[in-house]
Protein backbone atom coordinates (compact mmCIF):
# COMPACT_ATOMS: atom_id res chain seq x y z
CA UNK A 1 0.00 0.00 0.00
CA UNK A 2 1.73 3.15 -1.12
CA UNK A 3 1.04 6.73 -0.41
CA UNK A 4 -0.27 7.81 -3.75
CA UNK A 5 -2.60 5.14 -5.07
CA UNK A 6 -5.63 5.71 -2.89
CA UNK A 7 -6.76 9.17 -3.97
CA UNK A 8 -6.61 11.51 -6.92
CA UNK A 9 -3.59 13.77 -6.62
CA UNK A 10 -5.51 17.06 -6.49
CA UNK A 11 -7.81 15.98 -3.68
CA UNK A 12 -4.81 14.55 -1.88
CA UNK A 13 -2.98 17.85 -2.09
CA UNK A 14 -6.00 19.83 -0.88
CA UNK A 15 -6.45 17.53 2.06
CA UNK A 16 -2.80 17.79 2.90
CA UNK A 17 -2.79 21.60 2.83
CA UNK A 18 -5.75 21.88 5.19
CA UNK A 19 -3.99 21.39 8.57
CA UNK A 20 -1.20 23.85 7.75
CA UNK A 21 -3.68 26.36 6.34
CA UNK A 22 -5.80 26.05 9.48
CA UNK A 23 -2.82 26.48 11.78
CA UNK A 24 -1.34 29.51 10.02
CA UNK A 25 -4.62 31.17 9.09
CA UNK A 26 -6.05 30.97 12.58
CA UNK A 27 -2.73 31.94 14.16
CA UNK A 28 -2.17 35.00 11.97
CA UNK A 29 -5.73 36.14 12.58
CA UNK A 30 -5.33 35.69 16.32
CA UNK A 31 -1.99 37.49 16.34
CA UNK A 32 -3.29 40.48 14.39
CA UNK A 33 -6.55 40.77 16.34
CA UNK A 34 -4.83 40.41 19.71
CA UNK A 35 -2.20 42.97 18.71
CA UNK A 36 -4.89 45.40 17.62
CA UNK A 37 -6.84 44.86 20.84
CA UNK A 38 -3.84 45.44 23.09
CA UNK A 39 -2.19 48.23 21.11
CA UNK A 40 -0.91 50.71 23.70
CA UNK A 41 -1.56 54.40 23.43
CA UNK A 42 1.49 55.92 21.75
CA UNK A 43 3.57 58.03 24.15
CA UNK A 44 2.69 61.66 23.59
CA UNK A 45 5.36 63.69 21.86
CA UNK A 46 7.69 60.77 21.10
CA UNK A 47 8.19 59.13 17.73
CA UNK A 48 6.58 55.69 17.36
CA UNK A 49 7.61 52.76 15.26
CA UNK A 50 4.42 52.77 13.21
CA UNK A 51 1.92 50.09 12.20
CA UNK A 52 4.34 48.24 9.94
CA UNK A 53 6.47 47.36 12.93
CA UNK A 54 3.63 47.03 15.43
CA UNK A 55 1.79 44.47 13.33
CA UNK A 56 4.72 43.12 11.36
CA UNK A 57 6.58 42.01 14.46
CA UNK A 58 3.91 39.64 15.85
CA UNK A 59 3.28 38.30 12.35
CA UNK A 60 6.95 37.50 11.70
CA UNK A 61 7.32 36.11 15.19
CA UNK A 62 4.37 33.80 14.57
CA UNK A 63 5.85 32.72 11.23
CA UNK A 64 9.11 32.02 13.05
CA UNK A 65 7.37 29.90 15.68
CA UNK A 66 5.39 27.91 13.14
CA UNK A 67 8.36 27.36 10.83
CA UNK A 68 10.38 26.15 13.82
CA UNK A 69 7.73 23.71 14.97
CA UNK A 70 7.21 22.44 11.41
CA UNK A 71 10.96 21.82 11.17
CA UNK A 72 10.94 19.96 14.47
CA UNK A 73 7.89 17.91 13.51
CA UNK A 74 9.16 16.96 10.06
CA UNK A 75 12.56 16.01 11.49
CA UNK A 76 10.79 13.89 14.05
CA UNK A 77 8.59 12.08 11.53
CA UNK A 78 11.14 9.40 10.52
CA UNK A 79 11.43 8.39 14.18
CA UNK A 80 7.65 8.01 14.35
CA UNK A 81 7.50 6.08 11.08
CA UNK A 82 10.13 3.63 12.21
CA UNK A 83 12.73 2.00 10.00
CA UNK A 84 11.25 -1.49 9.62
CA UNK A 85 9.53 -1.02 6.28
CA UNK A 86 11.59 1.41 4.23
CA UNK A 87 9.68 0.75 1.00
CA UNK A 88 6.41 1.79 2.67
CA UNK A 89 7.72 4.71 4.67
CA UNK A 90 10.31 6.16 2.31
CA UNK A 91 7.93 8.26 0.12
CA UNK A 92 6.62 10.08 3.19
CA UNK A 93 10.07 10.26 4.78
CA UNK A 94 11.74 11.74 1.72
CA UNK A 95 9.00 14.32 1.40
CA UNK A 96 9.46 15.17 5.09
CA UNK A 97 13.20 15.65 4.57
CA UNK A 98 12.68 18.12 1.70
CA UNK A 99 9.96 20.10 3.45
CA UNK A 100 12.07 20.30 6.60
CA UNK A 101 14.71 22.21 4.64
CA UNK A 102 12.12 24.62 3.23
CA UNK A 103 10.66 25.29 6.66
CA UNK A 104 14.14 25.80 8.14
CA UNK A 105 14.82 28.38 5.42
CA UNK A 106 11.54 30.16 6.25
CA UNK A 107 12.52 30.04 9.93
CA UNK A 108 15.91 31.63 9.29
CA UNK A 109 14.35 34.30 7.08
CA UNK A 110 11.71 35.07 9.73
CA UNK A 111 14.45 35.38 12.35
CA UNK A 112 16.29 37.92 10.16
CA UNK A 113 13.17 40.00 9.55
CA UNK A 114 12.21 39.73 13.20
CA UNK A 115 15.60 41.06 14.30
CA UNK A 116 15.26 44.00 11.92
CA UNK A 117 11.72 44.84 13.10
CA UNK A 118 12.63 44.45 16.78
CA UNK A 119 15.49 46.89 16.31
CA UNK A 120 13.09 49.30 14.60
CA UNK A 121 10.66 48.97 17.49
CA UNK A 122 13.24 49.81 20.14
CA UNK A 123 14.63 52.83 18.33
CA UNK A 124 11.69 54.53 16.65
CA UNK A 125 12.25 57.61 14.56
CA UNK A 126 15.53 56.53 13.02
CA UNK A 127 16.87 53.83 10.79
CA UNK A 128 17.10 50.59 12.82
CA UNK A 129 20.63 49.92 13.96
CA UNK A 130 20.60 46.13 14.04
CA UNK A 131 24.20 45.68 15.31
CA UNK A 132 23.48 47.99 18.24
CA UNK A 133 20.24 46.18 19.03
CA UNK A 134 21.87 42.76 18.96
CA UNK A 135 24.78 44.03 20.99
CA UNK A 136 22.70 45.73 23.69
CA UNK A 137 19.63 43.53 24.11
CA UNK A 138 19.36 39.85 24.93
CA UNK A 139 16.35 39.16 22.71
CA UNK A 140 18.41 40.28 19.73
CA UNK A 141 21.12 37.80 20.59
CA UNK A 142 18.46 35.13 21.05
CA UNK A 143 17.02 35.81 17.60
CA UNK A 144 20.46 35.68 16.01
CA UNK A 145 21.30 32.37 17.70
CA UNK A 146 17.91 30.97 16.70
CA UNK A 147 18.39 32.09 13.11
CA UNK A 148 21.87 30.57 13.03
CA UNK A 149 20.47 27.30 14.35
CA UNK A 150 17.85 27.44 11.59
CA UNK A 151 20.58 27.86 8.96
CA UNK A 152 22.48 24.94 10.52
CA UNK A 153 19.26 22.93 10.52
CA UNK A 154 18.73 23.69 6.83
CA UNK A 155 22.30 22.61 6.08
CA UNK A 156 21.85 19.27 7.86
CA UNK A 157 18.51 18.97 6.10
CA UNK A 158 20.16 19.34 2.71
CA UNK A 159 22.58 16.57 3.64
CA UNK A 160 19.56 14.47 4.65
CA UNK A 161 17.91 15.12 1.29
CA UNK A 162 21.10 14.02 -0.40
CA UNK A 163 21.97 11.00 1.75
CA UNK A 164 18.55 9.92 3.06
CA UNK A 165 18.13 8.52 6.54
CA UNK A 166 21.85 7.94 6.90
CA UNK A 167 21.82 11.41 8.45
CA UNK A 168 20.40 10.50 11.85
CA UNK A 169 16.96 11.87 12.65
CA UNK A 170 18.11 12.55 16.21
CA UNK A 171 20.69 15.01 14.89
CA UNK A 172 18.07 16.84 12.84
CA UNK A 173 15.61 16.98 15.73
CA UNK A 174 18.39 18.14 18.03
CA UNK A 175 19.50 20.94 15.73
CA UNK A 176 15.94 22.18 15.30
CA UNK A 177 15.14 22.00 19.03
CA UNK A 178 18.36 23.84 19.82
CA UNK A 179 17.09 26.75 17.75
CA UNK A 180 14.01 26.99 19.97
CA UNK A 181 15.98 27.31 23.19
CA UNK A 182 17.39 30.86 23.09
CA UNK A 183 14.03 32.55 22.50
CA UNK A 184 12.37 32.13 25.93
CA UNK A 185 15.62 32.55 27.86
CA UNK A 186 16.50 35.92 26.43
CA UNK A 187 13.00 37.31 26.79
CA UNK A 188 13.13 37.09 30.56
CA UNK A 189 14.63 39.14 33.34
CA UNK A 190 16.79 37.46 35.93
CA UNK A 191 15.97 39.40 39.04
CA UNK A 192 14.50 36.80 41.33
CA UNK A 193 15.40 33.73 43.28
CA UNK A 194 13.77 30.90 41.30
CA UNK A 195 15.13 32.14 38.02
CA UNK A 196 17.11 29.03 37.06
CA UNK A 197 14.28 26.63 37.75
CA UNK A 198 11.87 28.82 35.83
CA UNK A 199 14.25 28.82 32.87
CA UNK A 200 14.39 25.04 32.84
CA UNK A 201 10.61 24.85 33.08
CA UNK A 202 10.15 27.22 30.16
CA UNK A 203 12.64 25.37 28.00
CA UNK A 204 10.88 22.08 28.73
CA UNK A 205 7.62 23.76 27.90
CA UNK A 206 8.81 25.07 24.55
CA UNK A 207 10.35 21.72 23.59
CA UNK A 208 7.23 19.80 24.59
CA UNK A 209 4.90 22.13 22.72
CA UNK A 210 7.01 22.00 19.56
CA UNK A 211 7.26 18.21 19.59
CA UNK A 212 3.53 17.88 20.18
CA UNK A 213 2.25 20.42 17.67
CA UNK A 214 4.98 19.74 15.12
CA UNK A 215 4.50 15.99 15.34
CA UNK A 216 0.75 16.25 14.92
CA UNK A 217 1.20 18.61 11.97
CA UNK A 218 3.73 16.31 10.30
CA UNK A 219 1.44 13.29 10.74
CA UNK A 220 -1.56 15.26 9.45
CA UNK A 221 0.40 16.67 6.51
CA UNK A 222 2.03 13.51 5.25
CA UNK A 223 0.21 10.42 6.45
CA UNK A 224 -3.54 11.04 6.28
CA UNK A 225 -3.94 9.55 2.83
CA UNK A 226 -2.20 6.30 3.76
CA UNK A 227 -4.30 4.33 6.21
CA UNK A 228 -1.67 1.65 6.75
CA UNK A 229 1.12 4.12 7.60
CA UNK A 230 -1.20 6.20 9.75
CA UNK A 231 -2.34 3.13 11.67
CA UNK A 232 1.26 2.22 12.36
CA UNK A 233 2.47 5.73 13.25
CA UNK A 234 -0.35 7.37 15.18
CA UNK A 235 -0.09 5.13 18.28
CA UNK A 236 3.61 6.04 18.54
CA UNK A 237 2.79 9.72 18.22
CA UNK A 238 0.02 9.32 20.77
CA UNK A 239 2.48 8.06 23.36
CA UNK A 240 4.78 10.98 22.63
CA UNK A 241 1.86 13.41 22.83
CA UNK A 242 0.82 12.08 26.24
CA UNK A 243 4.33 12.63 27.59
CA UNK A 244 4.51 16.03 25.95
CA UNK A 245 1.18 17.00 27.49
CA UNK A 246 2.45 16.03 30.94
CA UNK A 247 5.71 17.91 30.52
CA UNK A 248 4.03 20.97 29.04
CA UNK A 249 1.44 21.02 31.80
CA UNK A 250 3.87 20.61 34.70
CA UNK A 251 6.37 23.14 33.39
CA UNK A 252 3.50 25.48 32.66
CA UNK A 253 2.11 25.09 36.17
CA UNK A 254 5.39 26.25 37.62
CA UNK A 255 6.02 29.25 35.34
CA UNK A 256 2.38 30.29 35.24
CA UNK A 257 1.90 30.29 39.01
CA UNK A 258 5.19 32.02 39.67
CA UNK A 259 4.60 34.72 37.09
CA UNK A 260 1.09 35.49 38.28
CA UNK A 261 2.10 35.61 41.92
CA UNK A 262 5.21 37.71 41.35
CA UNK A 263 3.61 40.29 39.08
CA UNK A 264 3.90 43.61 40.88
CA UNK A 265 1.26 45.50 38.92
CA UNK A 266 -1.96 44.02 40.26
CA UNK A 267 -3.12 41.49 42.82
CA UNK A 268 -3.29 37.96 41.43
CA UNK A 269 -6.93 37.04 40.92
CA UNK A 270 -7.96 40.52 39.85
CA UNK A 271 -5.11 40.88 37.37
CA UNK A 272 -6.69 38.15 35.26
CA UNK A 273 -9.39 40.53 34.09
CA UNK A 274 -7.97 43.98 34.75
CA UNK A 275 -4.87 43.71 32.59
CA UNK A 276 -4.47 42.98 28.89
CA UNK A 277 -2.02 40.30 29.88
CA UNK A 278 -4.50 38.64 32.20
CA UNK A 279 -7.23 38.71 29.56
CA UNK A 280 -4.92 37.03 27.06
CA UNK A 281 -4.16 34.42 29.70
CA UNK A 282 -7.88 33.76 30.09
CA UNK A 283 -8.35 33.50 26.32
CA UNK A 284 -5.47 31.08 26.08
CA UNK A 285 -6.80 28.99 28.96
CA UNK A 286 -10.14 28.61 27.18
CA UNK A 287 -8.32 27.60 24.00
CA UNK A 288 -6.28 25.10 26.00
CA UNK A 289 -9.47 23.50 27.27
CA UNK A 290 -10.75 23.14 23.71
CA UNK A 291 -7.42 21.69 22.58
CA UNK A 292 -7.45 19.13 25.37
CA UNK A 293 -10.98 18.10 24.39
CA UNK A 294 -9.94 17.69 20.77
CA UNK A 295 -6.83 15.76 21.74
CA UNK A 296 -8.89 13.46 23.95
CA UNK A 297 -11.30 13.00 21.04
CA UNK A 298 -8.51 11.83 18.76
CA UNK A 299 -6.90 9.72 21.44
CA UNK A 300 -9.97 7.81 22.58
CA UNK A 301 -12.55 8.06 19.81
CA UNK A 302 -10.48 7.90 16.65
CA UNK A 303 -7.30 6.06 17.59
CA UNK A 304 -8.93 2.58 17.89
CA UNK A 305 -10.35 2.96 14.38
CA UNK A 306 -7.06 4.26 13.02
CA UNK A 307 -5.17 1.36 14.58
CA UNK A 308 -7.65 -1.07 13.02
CA UNK A 309 -7.06 0.59 9.61
CA UNK A 310 -10.72 1.59 9.42
CA UNK A 311 -11.65 4.83 7.66
CA UNK A 312 -11.85 7.59 10.26
CA UNK A 313 -12.30 11.33 10.32
CA UNK A 314 -8.76 11.77 11.62
CA UNK A 315 -7.74 14.29 8.93
CA UNK A 316 -10.64 16.61 9.69
CA UNK A 317 -10.24 16.38 13.47
CA UNK A 318 -6.50 16.91 13.27
CA UNK A 319 -7.11 20.00 11.12
CA UNK A 320 -9.58 21.32 13.69
CA UNK A 321 -7.16 20.72 16.55
CA UNK A 322 -4.30 22.36 14.66
CA UNK A 323 -6.52 25.37 13.93
CA UNK A 324 -7.20 25.85 17.64
CA UNK A 325 -3.51 25.31 18.36
CA UNK A 326 -2.82 28.04 15.82
CA UNK A 327 -5.13 30.40 17.68
CA UNK A 328 -3.30 29.60 20.92
CA UNK A 329 0.08 30.20 19.28
CA UNK A 330 -1.10 33.53 17.86
CA UNK A 331 -2.29 34.69 21.26
CA UNK A 332 0.94 33.45 22.83
CA UNK A 333 2.97 35.61 20.48
CA UNK A 334 1.08 38.68 21.62
CA UNK A 335 1.32 37.65 25.29
CA UNK A 336 5.10 37.59 25.13
CA UNK A 337 5.07 41.09 23.69
CA UNK A 338 2.45 42.59 25.98
CA UNK A 339 4.00 41.36 29.20
CA UNK A 340 2.74 42.15 32.64
Amino acid sequence: MTLLDSRPAAADRRLRALPLAGLTGAGLTAAVVATWATLPEPPFGLPTAGPWVEFGLPVTRFVLDVAALVTVGLSLLPKLLGFDHPEATEPAASRARRWAVYSAVVWAFAALVSTLLSAAEVMPGRFPDVPLYVDAIGSGQGLVVSGAAAVFSAAIGIFAVRFGEKVPAELRVGAAVFGLLPLPVTGHASNWYWHDLSMVAMELHVIGAALWTGGLLAVALLLVSDRELLGRTLPRFSRLATTALLVVSLSGLFTGLVELLLSPAEAFPASLVTTHYGLLVVVKTVLAGVIALLAANIRWRLLPGVTARRPTAFAAWAAVELTVLGLAYGVAVVITRTGG
Partner: protein, 203 residues
Protein backbone atom coordinates in the same frame (compact mmCIF):
# COMPACT_ATOMS: atom_id res chain seq x y z
CA UNK B 1 -21.79 13.58 20.56
CA UNK B 2 -23.44 10.19 21.07
CA UNK B 3 -22.53 8.05 24.02
CA UNK B 4 -22.07 5.06 21.80
CA UNK B 5 -19.31 6.65 19.81
CA UNK B 6 -17.40 7.60 22.94
CA UNK B 7 -16.78 4.05 24.04
CA UNK B 8 -14.85 1.21 22.66
CA UNK B 9 -14.90 -2.37 23.88
CA UNK B 10 -13.03 -2.70 27.13
CA UNK B 11 -13.08 0.96 28.01
CA UNK B 12 -16.25 1.91 29.77
CA UNK B 13 -17.88 5.27 29.62
CA UNK B 14 -17.20 6.36 33.24
CA UNK B 15 -13.48 5.83 32.79
CA UNK B 16 -13.47 7.74 29.52
CA UNK B 17 -15.44 10.51 31.09
CA UNK B 18 -13.19 10.66 34.13
CA UNK B 19 -10.03 10.72 32.05
CA UNK B 20 -11.38 13.32 29.67
CA UNK B 21 -12.54 15.62 32.42
CA UNK B 22 -9.32 15.34 34.38
CA UNK B 23 -7.29 15.91 31.22
CA UNK B 24 -9.32 18.97 30.33
CA UNK B 25 -9.06 20.37 33.84
CA UNK B 26 -5.35 19.71 33.94
CA UNK B 27 -4.73 21.46 30.64
CA UNK B 28 -7.09 24.30 31.41
CA UNK B 29 -5.43 25.02 34.74
CA UNK B 30 -1.88 24.43 33.72
CA UNK B 31 -1.65 25.86 30.24
CA UNK B 32 1.53 27.86 30.50
CA UNK B 33 2.10 31.45 29.69
CA UNK B 34 5.49 32.81 28.67
CA UNK B 35 6.99 34.77 31.47
CA UNK B 36 6.50 38.47 31.48
CA UNK B 37 9.44 40.51 32.51
CA UNK B 38 8.24 43.91 31.53
CA UNK B 39 9.06 46.86 33.67
CA UNK B 40 5.94 48.30 35.25
CA UNK B 41 5.52 51.96 36.12
CA UNK B 42 4.77 52.11 39.84
CA UNK B 43 4.37 55.81 40.26
CA UNK B 44 5.20 59.19 38.85
CA UNK B 45 5.70 62.70 40.08
CA UNK B 46 3.60 64.54 38.96
CA UNK B 47 0.98 61.82 38.98
CA UNK B 48 -1.61 61.27 36.27
CA UNK B 49 -4.31 63.92 36.48
CA UNK B 50 -2.55 65.90 39.22
CA UNK B 51 -2.45 69.66 39.53
CA UNK B 52 0.94 71.00 40.47
CA UNK B 53 1.81 74.59 41.36
CA UNK B 54 5.51 74.07 40.94
CA UNK B 55 7.60 71.76 38.77
CA UNK B 56 11.33 71.44 38.39
CA UNK B 57 11.63 67.77 37.57
CA UNK B 58 9.64 64.75 36.44
CA UNK B 59 10.23 61.44 38.20
CA UNK B 60 9.07 58.02 37.04
CA UNK B 61 9.50 55.04 39.37
CA UNK B 62 9.45 51.50 38.02
CA UNK B 63 9.34 48.12 39.73
CA UNK B 64 12.67 47.00 38.29
CA UNK B 65 15.89 48.76 37.35
CA UNK B 66 15.57 50.52 34.02
CA UNK B 67 18.04 50.27 31.17
CA UNK B 68 19.66 53.65 30.74
CA UNK B 69 20.05 53.27 27.01
CA UNK B 70 16.94 53.81 24.91
CA UNK B 71 15.04 55.62 27.71
CA UNK B 72 13.10 58.62 26.42
CA UNK B 73 10.82 61.25 27.87
CA UNK B 74 8.98 64.17 26.31
CA UNK B 75 7.24 66.92 28.27
CA UNK B 76 4.90 68.84 26.01
CA UNK B 77 3.21 72.06 27.08
CA UNK B 78 -0.17 73.51 26.14
CA UNK B 79 1.59 75.55 23.46
CA UNK B 80 3.00 72.40 21.88
CA UNK B 81 6.59 73.19 22.85
CA UNK B 82 8.89 70.68 24.53
CA UNK B 83 9.95 71.44 28.10
CA UNK B 84 12.11 68.44 28.94
CA UNK B 85 15.78 69.27 29.36
CA UNK B 86 17.67 66.10 30.23
CA UNK B 87 17.27 62.53 31.44
CA UNK B 88 18.93 60.59 34.26
CA UNK B 89 18.40 56.94 35.02
CA UNK B 90 19.36 55.57 38.43
CA UNK B 91 18.16 52.01 39.10
CA UNK B 92 14.36 52.08 39.16
CA UNK B 93 14.04 55.84 38.91
CA UNK B 94 14.00 57.88 35.73
CA UNK B 95 14.38 61.60 36.35
CA UNK B 96 13.93 64.31 33.77
CA UNK B 97 14.89 67.89 34.43
CA UNK B 98 12.56 70.44 32.90
CA UNK B 99 12.92 73.92 31.54
CA UNK B 100 11.03 76.68 33.37
CA UNK B 101 7.36 76.30 32.51
CA UNK B 102 6.08 79.52 30.98
CA UNK B 103 2.32 79.07 31.00
CA UNK B 104 -0.19 77.29 33.16
CA UNK B 105 -2.43 74.64 31.64
CA UNK B 106 -2.45 71.03 30.53
CA UNK B 107 0.95 69.37 30.15
CA UNK B 108 1.63 65.88 28.80
CA UNK B 109 4.50 63.53 29.63
CA UNK B 110 5.20 60.83 27.08
CA UNK B 111 7.75 58.20 28.08
CA UNK B 112 9.26 55.11 26.58
CA UNK B 113 11.81 52.74 28.05
CA UNK B 114 13.13 49.42 26.86
CA UNK B 115 12.13 46.74 29.29
CA UNK B 116 14.52 44.22 30.75
CA UNK B 117 13.36 41.61 28.27
CA UNK B 118 13.99 43.90 25.31
CA UNK B 119 10.44 45.00 24.62
CA UNK B 120 9.63 48.70 24.68
CA UNK B 121 7.22 49.91 27.36
CA UNK B 122 5.61 53.30 26.97
CA UNK B 123 2.98 55.50 28.51
CA UNK B 124 1.46 58.94 28.70
CA UNK B 125 0.84 61.01 31.84
CA UNK B 126 -1.33 64.13 31.79
CA UNK B 127 -1.23 66.79 34.49
CA UNK B 128 -2.12 70.43 34.98
CA UNK B 129 0.36 73.12 35.83
CA UNK B 130 -1.27 75.81 37.95
CA UNK B 131 1.81 77.90 38.65
CA UNK B 132 2.36 81.44 37.55
CA UNK B 133 3.54 82.06 34.03
CA UNK B 134 6.90 83.46 34.98
CA UNK B 135 8.94 81.27 37.28
CA UNK B 136 10.74 83.00 40.15
CA UNK B 137 14.30 83.91 39.35
CA UNK B 138 15.71 81.79 42.19
CA UNK B 139 13.90 78.70 41.03
CA UNK B 140 15.07 79.18 37.48
CA UNK B 141 18.66 79.21 38.66
CA UNK B 142 18.31 75.83 40.31
CA UNK B 143 16.76 74.40 37.21
CA UNK B 144 19.83 74.55 35.10
CA UNK B 145 21.85 71.36 35.31
CA UNK B 146 23.92 70.87 32.24
CA UNK B 147 21.69 68.59 30.20
CA UNK B 148 24.53 66.71 28.62
CA UNK B 149 26.23 65.83 31.88
CA UNK B 150 23.47 63.71 33.37
CA UNK B 151 21.52 62.63 30.37
CA UNK B 152 21.43 59.08 29.15
CA UNK B 153 21.49 59.44 25.42
CA UNK B 154 20.92 56.59 23.04
CA UNK B 155 24.30 54.96 22.54
CA UNK B 156 26.18 56.03 19.50
CA UNK B 157 25.74 53.87 16.47
CA UNK B 158 28.05 50.91 16.61
CA UNK B 159 30.40 50.47 13.72
CA UNK B 160 28.96 47.08 12.94
CA UNK B 161 28.43 47.33 9.23
CA UNK B 162 29.82 43.81 8.98
CA UNK B 163 26.61 42.61 10.62
CA UNK B 164 24.66 43.97 7.68
CA UNK B 165 27.04 42.19 5.35
CA UNK B 166 26.52 38.99 7.30
CA UNK B 167 22.75 39.34 7.03
CA UNK B 168 22.90 39.85 3.28
CA UNK B 169 25.25 36.87 3.01
CA UNK B 170 22.86 34.73 5.05
CA UNK B 171 19.97 35.75 2.80
CA UNK B 172 21.96 34.84 -0.30
CA UNK B 173 22.89 31.46 1.15
CA UNK B 174 19.27 30.75 2.08
CA UNK B 175 18.15 31.68 -1.41
CA UNK B 176 20.81 29.48 -2.95
CA UNK B 177 19.84 26.54 -0.73
CA UNK B 178 16.19 26.90 -1.69
CA UNK B 179 17.03 27.08 -5.37
CA UNK B 180 19.31 24.05 -5.28
CA UNK B 181 16.73 22.05 -3.38
CA UNK B 182 13.93 23.10 -5.70
CA UNK B 183 15.96 22.00 -8.70
CA UNK B 184 16.80 18.76 -6.96
CA UNK B 185 13.15 18.17 -6.17
CA UNK B 186 11.80 18.90 -9.62
CA UNK B 187 14.10 16.43 -11.34
CA UNK B 188 12.70 13.08 -10.12
CA UNK B 189 9.16 14.23 -10.85
CA UNK B 190 9.98 14.54 -14.51
CA UNK B 191 12.05 11.40 -14.48
CA UNK B 192 9.50 8.97 -13.12
CA UNK B 193 6.36 8.50 -11.07
CA UNK B 194 7.74 6.57 -8.11
CA UNK B 195 10.68 8.01 -6.24
CA UNK B 196 13.39 5.49 -5.40
CA UNK B 197 13.83 4.25 -1.90
CA UNK B 198 16.76 6.52 -1.20
CA UNK B 199 17.36 9.93 -2.63
CA UNK B 200 21.04 9.14 -2.92
CA UNK B 201 20.60 8.24 -6.53
CA UNK B 202 19.06 11.55 -7.49
CA UNK B 203 21.86 14.01 -7.14
Amino acid sequence: MRKVTLTRPGLTLPIVRFLTVSLVLLAAVLWPVPASAHNVLKGSDPAEGASVPHLDRVTLTFDQPVRADFAKLALTGPDGARYDAGLTVRDEVVTATVKPLTTGGAYVIGWQIVSNDGHPVSGTIRFTYTGAGAAPAGAAATLAPAPGAVSAPIPAASGGSWVWGLMVFALLMLGLATWVLHRHESRPRHAGTTPPAHDRTLA
